[in-house]
Every structure is written in structure tokens, then in C-alpha cells.
Symmetry: C2
Subunit: 194 residues, 2 copies
């Protein structure tokens, strides 16, 4: 089915072009016209691949999500307990250029999610699933006797979610004050209390 | 000088209209045309008051900033040491509808700051000043013997900055998972470690 492959490839090209445009100039500067030009399409041709800008930006968001999830999965598959929890946190906190770009795309997706309900709901659904995953990891570490904190698992997960969202926002809006070392120290402080 | 007063009042009206539009539909949906219509101006008349959309949105950001700073100042003037630090944190973390709107405006300003350099730099300057203020409060509390944490004041301030940025982002992008109680618990956990 060469036609299907081609279609997917073109969608992927459009998403890549959108990613670069968001990183360069933000959501508002990323117009359908710019996306078409950057991806090498005629004006109006994007509608054969996406219903509109929101769906394209959603594609860029999924790309960012896959990037982070894939790394988190790889880093946690050989470890258990607190080590798995820590690896998971380190994999999802922005540290390098690739992460910075993903965080930048996420910020635009947050902004989009405030004006477009489907995208807003999608993010909240993912965040809920992500929090559940953290609660599972904390519960496993507690069952292994590695977590003795009096705080319950829900609250510990909330702290990590907030830490991660804060780090993601900070790396984009205050790059000079955000550093991998800062996030690492904050994680140290969290894990010292477990 | 009635003309000057009038000019300031009109700038303020334009900012208020922009605030409502951002809260309702986000940065991108807030066009110059919409702002003019909502503030009761003819198309093109806004240019007598602002250089462009970025400057108007900057005005809305300053409004959000004043709202939070004024409350922080009021709540901290009668207290010192750890009580002042805690009052400051509680005053700057979003809890009610008014704060939610300010957080929403801030998220759009973050997004704007990534595509418009003056706004990006402005936010970073404010964030730096805010962090300095936190370091001062922590140092005062430490001098009073109320802070004995082995973590240095810079790191403690970084934790609070990240907690606050995370709370601001979360209340906008995941309102169902963000609650005043969650933020209060996280502050409890922070202050228990001081």
C-alpha cells in the first residue's frame, strides 16, 4: 500500500515543519501558510492531511510526548523500585536541546489547549495517566521497603508532577535560571525525603 | 491635565478588554480587531495608545503582576522570618478565580515571550528580581534561627520558584488536578524541611 505510506510520510513531514516553526517563533507565528511553505506544499494542500492547525499542532505535541515516553520506557525497563522512579523522573525532566524543543512545543500546546477544548482535554487525560504511572512506581518502591515517607503516594506523585511541569515551563521561559543541575538537586531533595 | 488622565484610562480599558479576551480564547484568538471591538474603539485606533499587540499583552501581564505583588506586599508587611516567607508563597500561588485569570494571562505572556524578545527578557528580569526577594526572606528567617536546613538559600529559593511556576502552569493546563489544597500540602512539605 504505497499510497498509505506516502500519506503518513507527508503527515510526518508537515509535523516536523510545524515543530521547527513553533520552536523558532511560537504558536501564533506558525500559520498554515508558513507550515505549507516550510513543508513544501501548495497553500491549501494541508487540508488533505489535517483538519486544521489545531490537529497539526497536536501532531507536534504527540511527537514531543513520544520522544519523552520512549526514553522513560528505555531507562526504566532494567530497573525497579526507587531506581525506576528516579530514572523515570530523570528521563522526563528537560536536560538537553532536544528536550528544550519538546518543552517549547508543549508550552504552545498548553496555550492551544486553552482555546481549543479537544486539545485541552487530551492533555489532561495524558497528565492523569502519567500521574497514575508515577503512583504505581511509588507503590512498587514502597512495597519493596524503599519508600517510608509518611506522605501518601498521591501526594508524592503530585509533587513530582508539579516539579516536572515547573521544570518544563522554566526551561522555556527562564532558560538562564533553569539548568539540569538545578533539577537534579531538586530531585535529590525529593528522593532524600522518600 | 484631563487629556492625560483620559489617555491612561483608555489604555487601562484596552488592557482590561485584552485580559478578558485572553482568558476566554487565548493569545492567538485575541486579535487587534477583537481588542478594538471589545474596548469600543474603531479599527486602527489602538495604535494611538499602544505600539502593537505585544505591548498590549505586556500591559495585561503587568496587571497580573501588580495583582499578585500587591497582595504579597500586604500579607508580608506585618510579619517577619518564616511567617513572612510563607505568607509570600501563599500570596503568589494561584488559589481563586482572580488568580486563575492572572495565571492564564501569564501563560499567554510566556508564549508571547518566546516569539518576542523584549517580552521574553522582561519576564526573565522580573523572575530574577522575584528570586532575589525570596533569597532575602529566606536569609532573614535563617538569621532569626528559624531556618536550619543544610540546603543553601539559593537552592531553597529555586525550589519555591519552581513550585510556583509549576502551580501557575498546572492551574491553567490541568485545573481538575490542581487545587489550593494540593499547593498548600506542597508548601507544608517544603516548610517542614526548613
Amino acid at each position: 500500500m504505497p499510497k498509505v505510506v506516502d500519506h503518513d510520510q507527508r503527515r510526518s513531514d508537515i509535523i516536523d515543519a510545524t515543530w521547527s516553526l513553533i520552536v523558532r517563533g511560537g504558536l501564533e507565528a506558525t500559520t498554515m501558510r508558513d507550515i505549507a511553505a516550510a513543508a513544501g506544499f501548495a497553500n491549501g494542500a494541508l487540508k488533505h492531511y489535517f483538519s486544521g492547525k489545531a490537529e497539526i499542532v497536536e501532531g507536534a505535541y504527540y511527537k514531543a510526548l513520544r520522544q519523552v515516553s520512549e526514553r522513560a520506557r528505555q531507562r526504566t525497563e532494567a530497573v525497579t523500585g526507587v531506581a525506576a522512579l528516579r530514572a523515570w523522573c530523570q528521563a522526563t525532566i528537560p536536560v538537553d536541546r532536544e528536550d528544550w524543543e519538546a518543552a517549547r512545543v508543549l508550552l504552545s500546546f498548553w496555550e492551544l489547549g486553552r482555546s481549543s477544548e479537544p486539545e485541552g482535554k487530551l492533555y489532561q487525560t495524558h497528565l492523569k495517566a502519567w500521574r497514575e504511572e508515577l503512583i504505581d512506581l511509588i507503590a512498587q518502591a514502597r512495597a519493596a521497603g524503599e519508600v517510608t515517607s509518611a506522605l501518601d503516594d498521591d501526594q508524592l506523585a503530585d509533587e513530582l508532577v508539579l516539579l516536572n511541569i515547573g521544570a518544563t515551563a522554566m526551561v522555556v521561559v527562564a532558560p538562564h535560571q533553569a539548568s539540569p543541575e538545578l533539577f537534579e538537586r531538586l530531585l535529590d531533595s525529593f528522593f532524600a525525603r522518600l
